[in-house]
Amino acid sequence: MKIAVRFFAGCREAVQQNETELELPEGSRVADLQRELARRFPPLAGRVERVRYAVNGTYAQPGDPLNDGDEAAVIPPVAGG
């Protein structure tokens, strides 16, 4: 299944792109996405366990399921205000 992944701020600069599309096996969960990101983007290796993830605009936990067509996002530490 295909998952769109968006990058922001320090992560966006580290991977030098705003978004990408990943192909993941059916049944993958957020934790699988995290491992695939670390593999595909070496600059994220030190970050993937320290950031939060969102799926379709909502914070997600490692065990949350992914579905074909989902938009995931890598959320480095936020600093609004």
Binding site: R6, F8, A9, G10, R12, E13, A14, G46, R47, R50, A54, G57, T58, Y59, A73, I75, P76, P77, V78, A79, G80, G81
Partner: protein
Amino acid sequence: MAECWITDQPLRESEILDLVKTPRAGAAVLFIGTARNHAEGRPVAALEYEAYAAMAEAEMRALAEEALRRWPAEKIAVVHRTGRLDIGEAAVMAAVSSAHRKEAFEACAFLMDALKERVPIWKKEHWADGGARWVNDDQQDDQPNKEA
């Protein structure tokens, strides 16, 4: 009733205060977060904000609804700006109206605490000496500011 949005345009206090007006309110509290000329003792030249806009707006609405459940507030409005800000420009405004002042102060402070905790917005400090960093992002080195 809560209005929450992200914009790349300068913020206007009159607009956000108008959104919380109601004859039932005796109090309104407005918080304005502005680009400050220093951070941890270091001179700052400008700030740059980035947002995951759709999610940020949804999270701000969720916070506002939580505030309306926890305090007897009348209306809430929250707006956050993105893009590059000069020193003194407003990055965020949050307004709460209520019958009495205590709950307006408390709800407004809660909104700002929670916003900084969980709304997907990021701030890059551009220092006067040419460096820059994403605030709270301890994975980066202090990198040279390519834009400056």
